[in-house]
């Protein structure tokens, strides 16, 4: 069990050992980078094909099945198509910024993977402010989106970029607020510590994952909603809403640069999904001690794939929101609920000293009730809100 669990760590150590001593730190870094890029690059390719197949199945279609067996080589065909297409830069575009925007989006996203623990002893760097690093890096993508939209000199691109920024900034708030109870529970900003804080079981059968507490469940839901919005996934994909904005900030991109944006978006989704696994689903931990024969990175992959499937499922189901719905959903629903969740989390720990019979059930009931009441109430308020009065301040 241990050998299989640590196989990647051991392989990395062995390969590092082959290099001369002064170069070893560099080699270790390069290996970690290469490993991450290989795994998540493949993951990107695999996700694109499976997403299309699953979407097809959910709409009673077959999905792509032409290239290779069962269409599994479709990503390669897509890649060849993308990379051999002409790279068009609009005549009036700001060439330098237009060129830099895809890079500015993709590079930080790759960096974000550095702090995520994908298995036991398997994170590229273990920063003690890991999650802060993650969010700091993630905030750079807003600027990249703006660069793309502005440099294209296209009103659809600019509108798409503005929408994307408004959306990313709005949903970053519930994203971070949903994370805070987890950080408080673990008492650390290091993702490795957060995973370790979720080890063990309650009464031998229920894993001590954050998602299995009232505040964790609510936080997980909030986090996933905000994550979908952060990574421009359906139903929050209106920055590139093709029916109204052509392709938003991607309008003027083609060929390799478009492929980079596409890659960046999927990698962003992967990163934030991996973070959700780490924060709420116990990271690489097996659910029960009896299941620890399965390697930790395997557990991580299982949870990760399940969440990616959830995203695809939601994408197949829900229609796109309107912009004002999107923003009021963030500010009038998610943010207040995340704040309530914070209080529930504190109450949960404060009540952990209760020792009378059925204390756990009572705590659960209280926590769930405290969350359900604002949920219903805010939901009602959101639905019966006054009609939005549109006035377009800067479109005269």
């Amino acid at each position: 069990m241990n050998a299989l669990d640590q196989i990647f760590v051991a392989a990395g150590r062995w390969m590092t050992g082959l290099a001369p001593a002064p170069l070893q730190p560099l080699v270790a870094m390069a290996l970690a980078i290469a490993g991450l890029m290989a795994v998540f690059g493949t993951c990107f390719a695999v996700t694109t094909i499976f997403e299309r197949k699953i979407l097809g199945r959910m709409q009673n279609r077959l999905g792509p099945n032409r290239v290779g067996p069962f269409g599994l080589l479709q990503p390669m065909a897509d890649g060849v198509k993308m990379l051999t297409k002409e790279d068009i830069v609009p005549f009036s575009a700001d060439r330098v910024v237009h060129f830099l925007a895809p890079l500015a989006l993709t590079v930080p996203v790759w960096l974000a993977f550095a702090v995520l623990p994908f298995g036991r002893n398997m994170s590229a760097i273990d920063l003690n402010a890991g999650i802060l690093f993650f969010f700091a890096i993630g905030s750079a993508s807003e600027l990249a989106v703006f660069m793309a939209g502005w440099s294209s000199q296209n009103k659809y691109a600019l509108l798409g970029a503005m929408r994307a920024i408004a959306q990313m900034i709005s949903y970053e708030v519930p994203l971070v607020l949903a994370t805070i109870p987890v950080l408080m529970a673990a008492g650390s900003l290091s993702l490795t510590d957060i995973v370790l804080a979720q080890s063990g079981t309650v009464m031998g059968v229920v894993p001590r994952w954050n998602v299995l507490t009232p505040w964790g469940l609510a936080g997980f839901a909030l986090f996933m909603i905000a994550a979908a919005a952060e990574s421009n996934r359906c139903p929050f994909d209106l920055p590139e809403g093709e029916s109204e904005l052509i392709a938003g900030f991607l309008t003027e991109y083609s060929g390799f640069k478009y492929a980079l944006f596409f890659l960046g978006e999927y990698l962003g989704l992967f990163a934030v999904t991996a973070l959700a696994v780490t924060l709420f689903l116990g990271g690489w931990q097996a659910p029960l001690p009896a299941l620890e024969w399965f390697p930790s990175w395997g557990w991580f992959a299982v949870k990760f794939s399940a969440l990616i499937f959830l995203f695809i499922w939601v994408r197949a189901t829900l229609p796109r929101l309107r912009l004002d719905q999107l923003l009021s959903f963030a500010w009038k629903f998610l943010v207040p609920l995340a704040l309530v969740n914070l209080f529930v989390a504190v109450g949960w720990w404060q009540s952990s000293a209760w020792h009378f019979p059925a204390a756990l059930e009572l705590r659960w009931l209280l926590g769930a009730g405290l969350l359900a009441v604002p949920y219903v109430w805010l939901g009602q308020a959101l639905k019966s809100g006054k009609p939005v009065q549109h006035h377009y301040s800067y479109a005269e």
Binding site: R57, M58, N60, R61, N65, T317, Y375, V376
Partner: protein, 206 residues
């Protein structure tokens, strides 16, 4: 309550996802080159010329009257009349086309040519994978001429009407002929269409 619609929607898509694996009837996709949907009976693409019997040129119904050429809004039909004449299914001597070209690139599938044809000769085809390697898609007489059996196959209702009408005319013509000169032997091929479709309309001049 907020979210009930989401749950319902997720349930529906989830059911589709699982259902499409165990119930192939759910899948609506027809995988085109291997499997094709039968076209609707009234579907039409480019025109073609109907001939009777075995020989495409000899059995051609077209009499080179050029009505279709004149009526075609896109001017995609070009007919050159032949000088020689030949007898049609009623025994009348008719002209025949020497050249009959349809530029399928220009044709817009309106079907006016088929409407105006008094000889039920030009009809609308149903071939639709017409993509080719060149910009020219000039259909000549050789490609245009298709048998009556083919016509029956693609437009059974219309073909039955046309065949019945032609058999009736033929019958009348023969009756007239018989009345005029009873001594002469009968012209061959008068069997009704429905009885033996494959051998029904043997050319009158055979």
């Amino acid at each position: 309550m907020l979210g009930r619609g989401i749950i319902k929607g997720l349930w529906e898509t989830g059911r589709n996802f699982c259902g499409s694996y165990y119930d192939p009837a759910r899948l609506t996709t027809v995988q085109y080159p291997e499997a094709k949907l039968a076209p609707w009976e009234n579907a039409r693409t480019v025109p073609f010329l109907v001939y009777d019997g075995k020989d495409a040129i000899a059995g051609l119904r077209c009499t080179a009257c050029t009505i279709c050429e004149q009526e075609c809004p896109a001017h995609c039909i070009e007919i050159v009349k032949d000088t020689a004449k030949r007898a049609d299914y009623l025994g009348k001597m008719q002209l025949q086309p020497k050249v009959f070209d349809i530029d399928a690139m220009v044709c817009m599938s309106c079907g006016i040519c088929a409407e105006v044809c008094p000889f039920d000769s030009i009809k609308m085809d149903q071939v639709f994978d017409l993509a080719g390697g060149s910009r020219s898609m000039m259909l000549t007489l050789k490609e245009l001429a298709k048998s009556n059996e083919y016509f029956r196959l693609i437009h059974p209702t219309e073909a039955a009407v046309v065949d019945a009408a032609r058999a009736e005319e033929q019958r009348k013509a023969q009756a007239k002929k018989a009345a005029a000169s009873p001594a002469l032997p009968n012209a061959p091929a008068t069997s009704p269409v429905s009885a033996a479709p494959a051998r029904a309309a043997t050319p009158a001049v055979a």
